[in-house]
């Protein structure tokens, strides 16, 4: 980063299975207008628009940002489109933030979305490609064997995944935007839900959601001015990083990918963090299937290898008394508009350090991690945001 960059406005839709009340343009505008209002700006103040979403075939529109140029106030401006698989919401925020941090623009609107009800994401992800290993039936079919390996390797009790599923749904009850609100959620309900991909029960899997997320990112002078105008604090970016690793490579460790470890190391070094569990107040981490919480606790350095499940098991990652709450918003397990799921992690981390997360606020949160991953556990994007300006 050459210059400081801040999140001065955030907006998101109410995520649902089917948002039949809005077109795609209506969906993205709902998030974008909320972010602009939060920032105290309107479309005419924006220098550039950066759009992200997961595969275009989820809606059946090729490069839908072209059609959305008018709806997002981008006509006559630079408009950019990012696609890095599941990590795209996070990467999009980083691409947008680079425009500010590297001195190209002062006010950038970034928007991510998915309208999953326009298609069937599970089968859209399962199109056989020549000479490529098939994903089988959706992403869960790809990740389940990796999870089974993790359970065998770490010696974790079988119910840790179910505990994550319950915890994140309890968190979601405090988030009015979350797709899933399951007031009766408990271990028994998860255990009795149908087994989709052993060991993942139905309720250990993310939902399919329609939704959008948006943020306004700005330079320091704009952020300071808008803080005064709106009375709402900015979240300052302390570090951001992306890493990718190959699909076909025998040296990969799918349970604990090198790209994730390297990305975390980079972003924490930028933010001056050496002990993430102690120095961060909370984290919003991309956990689309329950067992990815213990696996990412290890990958991101919150726990030693094979010890991640112990944090989950002990309640350390719960908003209710845990020392390092993960996914206070309910996470991907509670809302999953795929293209926006990563941006929601980044957005929620910003909300926490702005002390604006409402019922799911971690008291006095000053530093938070936003994380997204995609592909076959191979694309990673992360940022650390803080309530204070970085040094």
């Amino acid at each position: 980063m050459n210059q400081r960059c801040a999140v001065i406005g955030v907006g998101q839709t109410h995520h649902k299975s089917k948002r039949e009340d809005v077109s795609i343009a209506g969906l993205v505008r709902e998030a974008a207008l909320a972010a602009l209002e939060d920032a105290g700006l309107d479309f005419s103040d924006i220098d550039a628009v950066v759009v992200g979403k997961a595969p275009d075939m989820f809606e059946g529109i090729m490069m839908p940002e072209l059609y959305l140029a008018g709806a997002l106030g981008a006509v006559g401006k630079p408009m950019f489109r990012v696609h890095t698989a599941g990590s795209v919401g996070g990467s999009t925020a980083i691409v947008a933030a680079h425009l500010v941090a590297n001195g190209i623009h002062k006010r950038v609107l970034t928007v991510a979305f998915e309208k999953q009800s326009d298609s069937d994401a599970m089968w859209a992800l399962s199109v056989p490609q020549p000479f490529s290993a098939p994903l089988l039936a959706g992403a869960g079919g790809y990740f389940a064997p990796i999870i089974r390996s993790y359970i065998n390797k770490s010696g974790a009790p079988n119910n840790v995944g179910m505990k994550v599923a319950v915890k994140d749904r309890l968190h979601a009850l405090k988030n009015p935007y979350a797709h899933l609100h399951l007031p009766d959620i408990d271990l028994k309900m998860v255990e009795e839900s149908v087994m989709l991909w052993d060991p993942l029960h139905y309720l250990e899997s993310c939902p399919s959601s329609d939704g959008a997320a948006a943020m306004v990112l700005s330079s320091e002078d704009v952020a300071v001015a808008q803080e005064k105008t709106t009375g709402r604090p900015a979240a300052w970016i302390h570090g951001m990083a992306m890493r990718s690793e190959p699909t076909m490579f025998a040296g990969r460790n799918l349970m604990n990918p090198q790209a994730g470890r390297d990305c975390a190391k980079d972003v924490f070094a930028q933010a001056g963090i050496t002990k993430p569990r102690q120095e961060l107040d909370c984290a919003e981490v991309y956990v689309p299937f329950s067992w990815y919480e213990p696996m990412w606790l290890e990958n991101l350095g919150f726990a030693e290898e094979n010890e991640g499940w112990k944090l989950t098991d002990s309640g350390a990652t719960s908003l209710d008394g845990g020392d390092i709450p993960w996914n206070c918003s309910g996470g991907v397990l509670s809302s999953n508009p795929i293209g926006a799921s990563g941006m929601l992690r980044f957005l929620e981390s910003a909300l926490q350090v702005r002390n604006m997360a409402g019922e799911h606020q971690v008291p006095d949160a000053h530093k938070a991690l936003g994380h997204a991953y995609g592909g076959g556990s191979q694309f990673f994007s992360m940022w650390v945001v803080g309530s204070d300006k970085p040094e």
């Binding site: 090729m62 490069m63 072209l66 950019f80 696609h83």
Partner: protein, 361 residues
């Protein structure tokens, strides 16, 4: 050497090495990874670098050509990102991947970037595929094909007195003539304007020769920030100005015979701040060259598309990046001092990127 100062950003960035495949109508013996691998290998060789020298990688492609999700994912295997690399992908032409890399290289400590774009138009029916780029509620259901839309634009130019069918033929004749000296071109021949005017219409007023070929191809570029560029090549192609803009999507909301986004991007890139020796314009249809030239204010002294341009080779998602390659090569070999590279995306030139490349004096 006196490196020309950049108009945008704070750090000068240059193109130092390029590689591209020969464009072909149908490359059946290679998938995307196999198409890219020799190109990436060649660009590293041209730069005297390995993957370990690269700080950032960015690519441009679209899933809709392969007909599946994540076409860029396996393509990344052509690059060999191990140990893991900082990497990103745009669902846009590779020229916008170059833009993202240029932004990234503005940061101190990020010095070298690899950019690539690829597309195999032969995998499907491009006219049907590109119809899916249109407004999904009001336009796509009618499946308007790209040639018919381009014809509307060409007719608007004729109606407004900006061009004639003979002008289109003259451009096609020159493009295919220029392509004779381009080993990567797909369509190269020697035909006069008068001969071309005997062609049938594809969609009036566009005769067959005014259409681009359907191409499979890939392209890659290595960019370096700061004086390190001189370690790679004597005469780096410095990006002294770069900007991109988007127009309204709805055809009724814009004058199809002009391109405001191109005009604005060209102004911001500083096109008119000095003489332009050559311009590589991403004008897939012959009439669009006239339109873009007007939009940028290029005069008769500028040589347009010395490579033959998209009328000679037009791999979707790499076509814009190839314009950068053709312009940069002419800076690097000393045959031009100041060049314009242009890329377009979306129906009838909806989105446009313009850059000025310069050699050090």
């Amino acid at each position: 050497m006196s490196t020309p100062p950049p108009r945008q950003g704070t750090r000068p960035v240059a193109i130092v090495a390029c590689a591209q495949s020969k464009s072909e109508r149908r490359i059946e013996q290679a998938n995307e990874v196999e198409l890219l691998m020799p190109v990436v290998t060649e660009v590293y060789a041209n730069a005297g670098m390995t993957k370990d020298d690269v700080d950032f990688i960015c690519s441009g492609s679209t899933d809709y050509l392969i007909g599946g999700p994540f076409s860029f994912v396996t393509a990344l295997d052509a690059v060999g990102v191990w140990p893991p690399k900082a990497e990103s992908h745009v669902e846009m032409d590779g020229a916008w991947a170059l833009y993202e890399a240029w932004v990234t290289l503005q940061e101190e400590g990020k010095d070298v970037a690899l950019v690539y774009g690829f597309g195999k138009s032969s995998l499907g029916d491009l006219s049907r595929i590109l119809a899916l780029q249109l407004d999904p509620y009001t336009m796509a259901p009618m499946w308007p094909d790209q040639v018919s839309l381009a014809a509307l634009q060409a007719q608007a130019m004729i109606d407004q007195g900006l061009a004639t069918e003979e002008d289109f033929a003259r451009i096609a004749s020159r493009a295919r003539h220029n392509a004779l000296s381009n080993p990567n071109a797909q369509v190269a021949n020697e035909k006069t304007m008068e001969e071309l005017m005997k062609d049938d219409y594809a969609v009036a007023p566009l005769r067959r020769h005014t259409l681009p070929p359907l191409s499979d191809g890939a392209a890659a570029i290595i960019m370096v920030a700061g004086d390190r560029a001189y370690d790679v090549v004597d005469r780096p192609a410095w990006i002294t100005g770069i900007d991109h803009r988007v127009d309204a999507h709805a055809f009724g909301a814009r004058n199809l015979a002009e391109s405001r986004s191109t005009t604005k991007a060209a102004e911001n890139a500083g096109v008119s701040a000095g003489p332009v020796d050559i311009a590589e314009l991403h004008a897939p249809f012959a009439h669009q060259e006239i339109l873009l030239r007007r939009a940028m204010g290029l005069n008769e002294s500028t040589v347009i598309n010395p490579s033959g341009g998209p009328l000679a080779a037009n791999p979707l998602m790499a076509g814009g990046l190839i314009r950068f390659i053709e312009a940069a090569n002419r800076i690097m070999d000393g045959s031009a001092n100041r060049a314009v590279a242009h890329a377009t995306s979306g129906p009838v030139l909806q989105q446009n990127l313009v850059a000025v490349l310069e050699g050090a004096s």
